[in-house]
């Protein structure tokens, strides 16, 4: 146990707390001291009574606010869950679209290969053969009497 000396509204108080809780106790006493100093006049007990009432009022309001915020948290959680499920659906659709695109690309490549023009060398060879045949015809035309 630790001994702690507190000052509240100018009056000293000796209290005990568990070891290690001293700092926390000083912080809380600071809050009570600030509130108690706003209440002037009256006996020590009356001053502490009003301090306790004011702090209880603040705690009550804070709890009410927290309770009011809970439904908003619920709707936010629902919205997040909905967004997550939509994102998952969109990912699935994207994966399907990618698979479809790959399949179409493969089909396109196959179609391109099926309709590929004959190799250029075939045209060149055919042109050379035609040149030879026309040259032979020219020889014949020149030899005609």
């Amino acid at each position: 146990m630790a001994d702690v000396k507190l000052q509240i509204a100018g009056r000293p108080y000796d209290v005990h707390c568990a070891d290690g809780q001293e700092e926390r106790l000083h912080q809380l006493a600071g809050i009570v001291d600030t509130k108690a100093r706003t209440i002037q006049g009256g006996t020590e007990v009356r001053q502490l009574l009003f301090t306790a009432l004011l702090l209880a009022d603040e705690a009550h309001e804070a709890r009410a606010k927290a309770e009011k915020a809970e439904p908003q948290s619920d709707s936010l959680r629902a919205a997040v869950a909905l967004a997550e499920s939509r994102e998952a659906a969109a990912r699935d659709a994207l994966r399907e679209a990618e698979a479809r695109e790959q399949a179409l690309r493969a089909e396109l490549d196959a179609a391109r290969q099926a309709s590929a023009p004959p190799p250029r060398n075939a045209h060149d060879r055919a042109l050379l053969q035609i040149a030879e045949r026309i040259e032979a015809l020219a020889d014949r035309a020149e030899r005609m009497p």
Binding site: D124, L127, A138, A141, M144
Partner: protein, 69 residues
């Protein structure tokens, strides 16, 4: 027209020169006062014309094929 320029331009040049030679040979023949041709000569000319037409037709087909893939 997708052709290898070295090979194809060489072949096209040869074809153009051979066609010019044929045109010149035919023009020379027409300008000469020729005696009446023998039946075998007429048949030979017809065969030559048919062959020239066939080769030119083949050349047209080849050019079309190269143009349209």
């Amino acid at each position: 027209m997708e052709l290898d320029l070295d090979e194809s331009s060489l072949a096209i040049g040869r074809i153009e020169r051979a066609l010019s030679r044929i045109e010149k040979a035919l023009a020379d023949r027409e300008s000469r006062p020729a005696p009446a041709p023998a039946p075998s000569e007429t048949a030979s000319q017809s065969a030559l014309k048919a062959e020239v037409a066939a080769v030119i037709g083949e050349l047209d087909r080849l050019i079309n094929e190269a143009k349209h893939g």
